[in-house]
Amino acid sequence: MDALLKNRRDNRNFYLLVALGLLVVAAGLAAAHYMEEYGHIVTGMNNQIVWGMPHVFAIFMIVSASGVLNVASIGSVFGQTPYKARAPLAGLLSIALLAGGLTVLMLDLGRPERVIVAATHFNLKSVFAWNVFLYSGLFAFVGIYLWTLMERRMNPWSKPAGLVVFAWRIILTTGTGMIFAFLVARQAYGTALLPPMFIVMSFAWGLAVFLIVQAAMYGWNEIELHPAILKRLKNLLGLFVISVIYLVTAYHMTNLYFARQSAFEHFILVAGGIYPMLFWGGYLFVGSLLPLFLIYFPGMGGSRHVLAASILVILGSFSLLYVFIVGGQAFPLSIFPGYEVTSSFGDGQIGQYAPSLPEILLGMGGLGVAFLITTIGVRALNFLPRDVAD
């Protein structure tokens, strides 16, 4: 009787979650339709801030889609048993996040109906075009990897498949970093440090997403995560958060050392209003130091602390991406070094940007897509990480 009741309750909750996901996705689609109908004038984006809130959401999801596979790689490539049990869930999350991120990127295009052009016309010198191949490749390879994990007869192939996925996602995140690294004239971008920085960010953010989803699934099934495994996962998250701090510091230190970059650094770290606030408060304090405290401080590190730390890491990631993407464009291009510049086109001026509701809804819609794929996936197939001790 109890089992029957629980089953009924589970069913009801599942459909509630799906309905919630569909609602968020519908709101995102409506926002995209509105943006297409009236043009990007209804967003906060303009000719100086050409990428805004949708790109913050999309890049978060695409970077996390790669990082979430860490858990799988540690299992399949490096042979760690507790991680092997988590590989299928990591694969599903990767596909879900990538689908969500790409949906947002696609629907933010000025001509979303021409996405077929992007799939049939390639400029092979463009890192964007390379990314189209990298994204579709990741879908395919993770799909095959999941098959080798979940179909018993294919199990022997899971190691080579895991190896391909491992290599592919490192290349994919390198490609994401290169989108910015290849911008020759932008002071915030155009450095070879960005691909490794993006890879390390992917490790932290992907693991944070994984830990949140795992906590939700364990809560749903009333299972406690084994303390030894929790300890390993939380220490790994802590290590990744520290690594991101290291690379972000190296990025800013390098800029601070170059006289021609000091005005930009002053803007982004001190004088730029919302951007320094989000950098120090959002990224460093809330998104990095607080999680480290929750993970490492004596008496902390329980499953609730780790869950809170993961949520904070994600809040921090949005802050950092906002500063990096929007703040990086807000600072004016240095077209005439050594001159004070004014014009009708915002030359020499800080670009103004206020995210509009449709942009935020579109971004949320992408998260909704990822949420729906995950929720339906874990319901339909056996993705629950089961440790041998259970």
């Binding site: 043009g39 000025g110 001509r111 086109f345």
Partner: protein
Amino acid sequence: MSEELDRRQFLKGSAMLAGLAIAPGMLLYDLAHGRSLNEPASSAVRWGMLIDTNQCESGCDDCVKACNKENGLPGGTRPTDEQWMRKVELKDMRTGKATSLPMMCQHCEEPPCVDVCPTGASFKRADGIVLVDRHLCIGCRYCMMACPYKARSFVHEPLHDQKPDVPRGKGTVESCTLCVQRIDRGENTTACAEACSKAGHKAILFGNLNDPNSEISKRIKTVASTQIRADLGLNPGLHYEGL
């Protein structure tokens, strides 16, 4: 029989000779007077400009107005409005010297916008003009991120009353075309250069950088000029004098 052959050979020979004699003239004529619409642009030409900032008057924006009129742009100056051309006022921070100049697509030989465009919508014609194919542009704005000159605009709103020879599109990116519609009609000046001359400043000299006898080539050889952000190595087709 042999006489007939001789005559035929003579006729053939003289036709070839005549051809040889006329061809260079035709070629020069072609270069000077543009090409027919079914003929592709030629790399024998590289269109460019020499802008003399000493002649450019601060506060005068006749070139910008002419550009807007020629290309059917509304001429608004909100951050979301398209500005293919703008006047920039500069003040040297060390000496205080003030300079005024028009700024637009610099028509680079190595255009970053063309490199980054995923679909190949951003392209450089054989004659050096950098354009956007409005049918291939998906509106990703990556070219705007890549352009060192802030030369490109995104069409943020629906368009009305377009000029038939300057097709545009909502949701696509656009920039100065060096009045390609004029060049393809065989005219050899742009709307901005024409307006600047009419205003008496003659600050914009348009011409073929590949022709050593063109006025622009001769002037570039004799006066000190510079390219904006020459350090980037993109070799823009626009040169500035007095900067």
